[in-house]
Structures are given as structure tokens and as C-alpha cells.
């Protein structure tokens, strides 16, 4: 038995990756939940909005790099992020003006809006592939590790290493900052309060003189920021490929629903629930259990519950469980 080494292996392969992935999902789910709360439909274009924002950021990153500007140990993409967010926000506001506003004025059913968002998804998908192509783009630069496995081993003298990639640290720190800002914005500012009022009771909000167009615009800008940040962090941590971002739609929706659609707190909780379940279920526990169990009980097989090819099955199964037993989610989102 060797509790400490087992713990370090666990942290290295399960906890740290799960934390980073969970932050990315939480940011993505926050965008979905905001749109659901204010505009009242499930935005199928969200995965491609993330791809669009990331693409814009990558292009600005390349531009900055070509001028010889970099951010030292941090990835240049963080410098490019505000530009990426701005472009995405403009794009989303234009989409709203040209497409969604018409249906909002008509008070169209939410399924119609979902199908419209499908059309928007097609367009964004096409734009992204047209501009940057379908291939993997790796745009992370700066320092690769905060602590590499080798350094950790020499520092502590333990046989197991704990590597923390700088992108993982950046992901978690950025996510915390963004969430703190978002909650401050929603709770304390006048605009944030009017957004919450609009989400709770649209008619009452209109009656008390809240300007619906302004609420909707702010929502889209926030969504653009959240989606772009989530997409860039995911791309820095793994890599950018348009199709992967489409596939993120399922875990993101699952996170938002698990937490309760329309509830920002729920979206964050849901993101971590989904991410940690995915990592735990698809991780091969042989090594960790080898440390934690007495020697004669140590497993021979990989002790991997599901192969990583089925990681979507994990978010899906959790989604199904929530739909069966807790349809409004953990944090009581909007029902029906």
C-alpha cells in the first residue's frame, strides 16, 4: 500500500485534467444556460459559436505572432482573446438582428427557434471551415508546464510525477475570474439585475420598464465572451478542430441540464459533474489501485470502466438519469 503515490497518480491523471475540462464545460454551459434563461431556447449553434470565437482568436494570435508580439510565458492567444470576443460578439449581434429578432417579435415556439439555431449552426460551421479549414490547429505557445513530471519527481523524490500544464492552470484561473465577474455582473449591476428579472418573468420585467432589446444584446455579448473563452481554453488545452467543437455540444448541453437549464450556478456544477464522471469512468485505474490496494488484491486488468471512445456515453447516461429522476436539474432550473 502506498497512499501518497496513488494519490499523486490520481491527481495527475484524473483530478487535474478533470478540473480543467470541467472549467471549460462550465463556461460553455453558462453560455447555453444564459441563452436559455433569457431567450428561452436551446442554442444548437453554441458549439460552433465556440469554434467561431476560437477561430477568430487564432487568427489574431497568428497576426500578433507575425508582428513578433508574444505574452512571455503565457500563450499569445490570451492577448488575442479580447479581439476574438469582439469579433464573435459582433457576429452574434448581427445574427440576432438578421435572424432571431424576427422570431422573437413573432413569439415563435421554442422548437422553431431551435431549428433556426440549427440553420445558424450550419452557417457558422461553413464559415469556420471556409476560413480556417477542417484540420487540427495547435496555437498554444509560451511555457508548456507549470510543473513537469520530472521536476516534481526531483523536487519530492517520489517515483510518481505530478505534471501541471500551464494551459490547465490558465484554464482554471480564467474560469474562476470569469465566473466571479459574471456573478458580480448578474447580482450587482443594474443591467445584470434587469437580465435576471427578464429571465424570471418577462411580462413583469417589461411592465417595469426594462428594455428587452438591451437585455437581449447584453446576453449575446456575454454569450460571445463565454463561448470564445471556453473555446480558446479548450483549444489551448487540447487542440482546435471544428468537428470536435460540434461534438462538445452534447457534454455542454448535458452540463446545463444536469445543473438545471437557466441556472448559472447549476451550469458550473453540471460542468464539473460531467467532466469528472467522464474522466473517472474512462480512466484506467490499474496504477492507482495498484498503489492503494494491498499487494495481493492489486488488479491485473486495466480497470477501465469504459473505453475513451465512449466518453459521450457518459454525459449521455448522466443526462438520461437526470431526465428520469430530476428533470429540473440539481439547481431547479426552469421546468416544463
Amino acid at each position: 500500500m502506498d497512499i501518497l503515490n496513488g494519490l499523486i497518480t490520481f491527481l495527475n491523471f484524473v483530478f487535474v485534467p478533470g478540473l480543467a475540462y470541467g472549467s471549460q464545460l462550465a463556461l460553455g454551459a453558462l453560455g447555453v444556460t444564459l441563452i436559455y434563461g433569457i431567450l428561452r431556447f436551446s442554442n444548437f449553434a453554441h458549439g460552433d459559436t465556440m469554434a467561431f470565437g476560437t477561430m477568430a482568436t487564432i487568427l489574431f494570435t497568428w497576426w500578433l505572432q507575425s508582428m513578433g508580439i508574444n505574452f512571455g510565458v503565457l500563450p499569445t492567444a490570451l492577448l488575442a482573446l479580447p479581439f476574438g470576443i469582439a469579433v464573435t460578439a459582433v457576429f452574434l449581434l448581427a445574427t440576432d438582428r438578421v435572424i432571431y429578432r424576427f422570431y422573437r417579435r413573432q413569439k415563435a415556439a421554442s422548437t422553431i427557434l431551435v431549428i433556426v439555431s440549427l440553420g445558424v449552426m450550419f452557417v457558422m460551421n461553413g464559415v469556420v471551415r471556409l476560413i480556417i479549414g477542417v484540420d487540427d490547429q495547435n496555437f498554444a505557445d509560451g511555457a508548456r508546464f507549470v510543473i513537469s513530471a520530472g521536476d516534481f519527481k526531483t523536487m519530492t523524490g517520489l517515483p510518481e510525477g505530478l505534471a501541471i500544464k500551464s494551459t490547465q492552470l490558465i484554464t482554471v484561473v480564467t474560469a474562476v475570474l470569469v465566473v466571479v465577474f459574471l456573478f458580480w455582473f448578474l447580482q450587482k449591476t443594474r443591467t445584470g439585475k434587469s437580465m435576471r428579472a427578464f429571465s424570471d418573468n418577462e411580462d413583469l420585467a417589461l411592465l417595469s420598464g426594462i428594455n428587452p432589446d438591451r437585455v437581449v444584446q447584453v446576453t449575446w455579448i456575454l454569450t460571445a465572451a463565454l463561448a470564445t473563452i471556453a473555446g480558446v481554453l479548450y483549444g489551448l488545452d487540447k487542440s482546435f478542430k471544428p468537428y470536435t467543437y460540434y461534438l462538445l455540444l452534447l457534454p455542454i448541453f448535458a452540463s446545463a441540464i444536469v445543473g438545471g437549464l437557466g441556472s448559472p450556478l447549476g451550469a458550473i456544477a453540471g460542468g464539473f459533474v460531467i467532466a469528472f464522471s467522464e474522466v473517472t469512468v474512462t480512466y484506467a485505474w490499474k496504477k492507482v489501485l495498484g498503489y492503494w490496494l494491498p499487494e495481493n488484491l492489486a488488479p491485473d486488468s486495466l480497470v477501465q470502466l469504459l473505453s475513451t471512445d465512449y466518453k459521450f456515453a457518459v454525459s449521455f447516461s448522466i443526462l438520461i438519469l437526470v431526465l428520469l429522476f430530476l428533470p429540473t436539474g440539481l439547481f431547479k432550473g426552469k421546468s416544463v
Partner: protein, 432 residues
Amino acid sequence: MTRNLALFAGVAALFVVTGLWQSWNLSLAILNMGLLSAVMAMGVNMQWGYAGLFNTGIMGFAALGGLAVVLVSGKPVPAGWAAGGPGIALALVLGALSIGAAIVLYRRTEPGRARTLTLLAVLVGGFFLYRAVFDPAALAVESNSPENAGNIGGLGLPSLLAWPVGGALAALAAWAIGKIALGLRSDYLAIATLGIAEIIVAVIRNEDWLARGVKNLTELPRPWPVPYEVELQQVPSFLSRAASWGFDPITASSILVKLIYAGLFGLVLLAVIWMSERALNSPWGRMMRAIRDNEVSAEAMGKDVTRRHLHIFILGSAVVGIAGAMMTSMDGLMAPGGYNPLRYTFLIWVMVIVGGSGNNWGSVLGALLIGWLWLIVESVGPGIMGAVTAGMADGPLKTHLVDSAQHMRLLTLGVILLVVLRFSPRGLIPEK
């Protein structure tokens, strides 16, 4: 009526023009894909047009149909089956039994900590039992000559038999999904079906024992009346007929094969249209539309809305499954890499909406028109892009533009969908 006929004549003209300008082979190949898509669009139209159910998992149901073709009409692999077939079957039964036991436990016992713990024990125990039986069996099957087989093999039955089986498999999956997601918020069905489709395709891609996964399963037999080109080219009466029409035997044989497929698919399509038109104009169809238009009042009239939704969801998915089976038996191979949600789910949606949701003929028209657009852009798009960029100097920008022609399809489809939804939400042939 004349307007609709004119629309169909216009689409027919597109195919004729393609035949004259490009080749009849291409035109017929597009027509066959269009007919297959039309059957899928009929399934979607039942769900969306009659009942307002939003299914984003069409790809998955089509893939299940393809799987049925592999299992029913694929070449038997006796050694593979003997190595682990019964073990896999036993494992699947054990898995189903433990889920069943968990459901019974959940229903029969009082809520509380004891129930939660026993439920967990049953499910976790069942899972490990399943894996203990399943893993060695699947490994044994996959290690049986992996370069040629490595799967449990099919039954070797005629391909036509596989079509209804494909429908049944899709219906089964639809039942499971519908049981869970129907009766909740409408978005939930969309998200749940999106997920199940990805999972079905992931299973087909990764479970080599089932259909060889990404190694692709080839040499699936053709359905009954369709001959092979090579055989046709040996038949003297066919050769003389082809010569008298001025075709060379190779082109003539492949055109004849495609024509027979078109006839076969056309028959299935007509049968589906006939049945669903009959259903739509019966009391059942009126009830379905009443439910779609006002769920609350239909419920007040004593209709069990969720149950009706489940029925139509199963029916529509079964139709999609049949079309998926037809497609795999026409291709003669099972290639899981080819299942792509944009092509098999969202394209079908665009067909239904452009054609006119709620109207069967509209779906057919939409399928033929959009199917034609989708495939013609694939074959002439690079050429057009080449012509557009002909004046530009060779360089990375030009190659990028020429390469990106295929992505123009997504953009174009998205724009078409948005424009139709905005300006003609009832589609080309609106519901009566």
C-alpha cells in the same frame, strides 16, 4: 395542384439536365440517394410534421438500419461465432437482466437509503458481471482472422429481409429514448436523440466484433432483383440491346443497375407515402394533428398525448431505419466513418422544412431537390471554384479557396434553411 406538378416537373428537369450535360450515371446515382433521403424525410415528417417532435438523431437510426443489413445478410463467419458468439449473447442478456432487475426494484420497493444502495449494488454488480462475460468473448471473436473477419458474421439471408429488421432495430431504440425523453420539455428530446445517435455510431465504429468497426465490412449482397454489372456484361441479349441503343456495355450495365435500384426504392417510397397518407386521413391522423396544434385541449379531450407521441416517434424512426438499411444494402458495405450528423441528420431536416413540413409530397420534393443540390455541388463545386479563381495567381490563397469549395455546401444549406424558415415557413408544398 398544377403548382405542385410544376415543382415536381422542375426537379425532374434538373435530373434530366444533369443526365444530358454530365452523365446519366451521375444523375441516377443522385436520384437514388434522393429517393433514399426521401424515405428518411418521410420518417422525419411523421415525427415533426404530424406531431411536432424534434428528432436530431436521424443518423443513429439510419446507422441501426445499416447494422441490420450486416447482421442479417452479411457473410456468416462460423469460426468467429463459435469463438465467442454465445458468450456475447449471454453477456448482453445479463446486462439487460440487471437493468430490468434495477427497474423492478425501483418500482417495487419503498424509497429510501436501502433502495438506493441495493439499486447501486445491482447495477454495479451487473456491470462487472457483464464485463466479465463480455470481454473474453469479444476478444475471442475479434482475434479470429482479424484481417478478413474478426466479427461474429451475419446470417447470410437475403438483403431484402434486412430492411424490416432495420426498421425494427430503429423502432426499439426509439422506444427506449422516447420512453425517457418524451413528456418532458421539447428540447430534451432533441438533445437526447443527438446523444443516442452519436453513441450508436460510436458503438458501430468501435465494436469490431459487431461489424468490423472502422475496418469496414464489405461484400454485402445486393437486394433480390438487382444484378451485378459483371454478370450483366455476360448476357448476350443485354449486350445486343445496349449496342442497339448506342451505349457501351459497361456504362449500360451500371445504368441498368441504378435504374433497378431506383425502381425498388421508388416502390418502397410509394408504399410509405400511401400508408402515411391513409393514416393521416384517418381518425388517428386527425387526432395526431389535433395534438400537435393544441396539446392542452387534446389532453382535455382525454387523449394520452405522451403515449401518442411515443407511437409516432417509434413509427417515424422505424421508417428512417428501413431507409438506412436500404442505403447500406445499395452501397454493399458498412463504413461507420461515413456517418456524419450534418449529412444524415441535418440535411434530412433541411429537406423536410424546405419541402413543406406536414406534407408527404413536400418532403419527397424537398428530398429530391436538396439531395440533387447537395451532390451536384460536390461534383461541380470544385470546378466552379476553379473557374472563379482562374484569374488569380497560384498560391496558398488559391489552393485554400479551391479546397474549401466543399464547405460552401454547409454555408449554402444553412442559408437556404434560414431563408425558407423566414420567408416561406410552410415550405414549397404547404400542408393542406
